[in-house]
């Protein structure tokens, strides 16, 4: 399946220092926060110290997806204002103590913080953690600038829709302008059936437009909604869903492992489609 993810790139960075990765997309609702929550949890399960930073001031959601909403006491804003220490604001995950969340403030908007303050904050975090994942807000305004201020790498999330790909393309340009060179693509909510029927852009189509290396493809899955509602990331499930598996694979690729892409076509294969294919391929 399509061009493979180069593990060489990361082995260089590995073991040296913590990695600050921003998860961004441009468009809203494509799965930035879901990806951040799941990748953070998956990396923590791989034995890494992970800090998740919600940079979506005013519209925070990451705490919800992790099921940590009721444990938020201080937020990044109080840390920046010097009203509390960084450790006080960090919410340790109850299921995985390798994972900590720095929540965003809910009662202010994105102008409350400057990129310099964000940079300082994330630098402090990166001294204690192996990974700092920053959940970027939608848009390319100050919130975006804040989120990417301290990032060395970026994961661009997109869905196979023209609008999302267009925005992702714009974001890739902006990231490159900010000298973030390690940019990888996550294609989210792919529906293999629709791709086969030519009703949806394929992985190749999206890659052709964005021309950044692919790090994972996540299929559309109802269980994502269930996991969001429950506040339990997919990768925690006992029996992993395909989307959960996809996220786990992305985390392992981030770690420098070489993991084959899941063949999504097989996953949604059923008796009928197999029968249809049989007829199509039979010589007449």
């Amino acid at each position: 399946m399509v061009s493979c993810y180069p593990p060489v790139v990361y082995s260089r960075v590995l073991g040296l220092m913590s990695r600050v990765i921003v998860v961004t997309s441009g468009k809203g609702g494509v799965g930035k926060t879901t990806s951040t929550a799941n990748l953070g949890m998956a990396l923590a399960r791989l034995g890494r110290q992970v800090a998740l930073v919600d940079a979506d001031f005013g519209l925070r959601n990451l705490d919800l997806l992790l099921g940590l909403e009721n444990r938020v006491v201080y937020t990044a804003l109080e840390v920046i204002a010097g009203e509390c220490r960084l450790e006080q604001a960090l919410v340790k995950d109850k299921r995985q103590n390798q994972l900590a969340l720095l929540p965003a403030a809910q009662n202010r908007n994105k102008d409350a913080v400057t990129p310099e303050q964000m940079k300082k904050l994330i630098q402090d975090l990166s001294e204690k953690f192996d990974y700092v994942l920053v959940d970027c807000p939608a848009g390319i305004e100050l919130g975006f600038q804040n989120a990417i201020a301290a990032a060395q790498e970026a994961l661009v999330v997109t869905t196979p829709e023209i609008a999302a790909v267009r925005d992702a393309d714009r974001v890739v340009g902006l990231l490159e302008a900010e000298r973030i060179k390690q940019i990888h693509l996550i294609i989210n909510r792919l529906r293999p059936g629709m791709v086969q029927a030519n009703d949806m852009m394929s992985v190749q189509d999206v890659q052709e437009i964005l021309s950044i290396p692919l790090i994972g493809v996540v299929p559309d899955d109802e269980r994502v909604i269930v996991s969001t509602n429950r506040g339990e990331p997919l990768v925690l499930a006992e029996k992993l869903s395909i989307a959960g598996m996809a996220f786990e694979n992305i985390a392992r690729r981030l770690e420098g492992e070489r993991v084959d892409f899941i063949d999504l076509n097989v996953a949604q294969d059923n008796f009928l489609s197999r029968l249809r294919r049989l007829f199509r391929s039979s010589p007449r």
Binding site: E69, V72, Q106, N107
Partner: protein, 90 residues
């Protein structure tokens, strides 16, 4: 005093007492300037978080079978909730 519901994700901060005439589902912080005598009252208490002065409490995981008007106040063991009917008897 809030007339109406306080939904999840919202928060009320007050220097004095908080009275919610409706459902309290968000975060409520009474006595924000440090008054530990402050109380939080609600017709239906199912908060994300309760704070009184410098203390923080989370709601129990399971919801009660029935809702009564309740009052949250500070005790030496932390923040406690009592039914309004029982509270007034003390």
């Amino acid at each position: 005093m809030v007339l109406g519901d306080l939904n999840p994700g919202s928060s009320v901060v007050a220097d004095g007492d908080i009275l919610v005439w409706g459902r309290l589902r968000g975060v409520a912080h009474a006595g924000a300037s440090g008054n530990t005598q402050c109380r939080i009252m609600a017709l239906q208490m199912q908060p994300t978080q309760l704070r009184i002065a410098d203390q923080v409490a989370r709601a129990p995981e399971s919801l009660p079978a029935q809702f009564h008007p309740e009052i949250a106040y500070i005790t030496p063991e932390g923040i406690r909730i009592a039914r309004a009917v029982d509270f007034s008897k003390k």
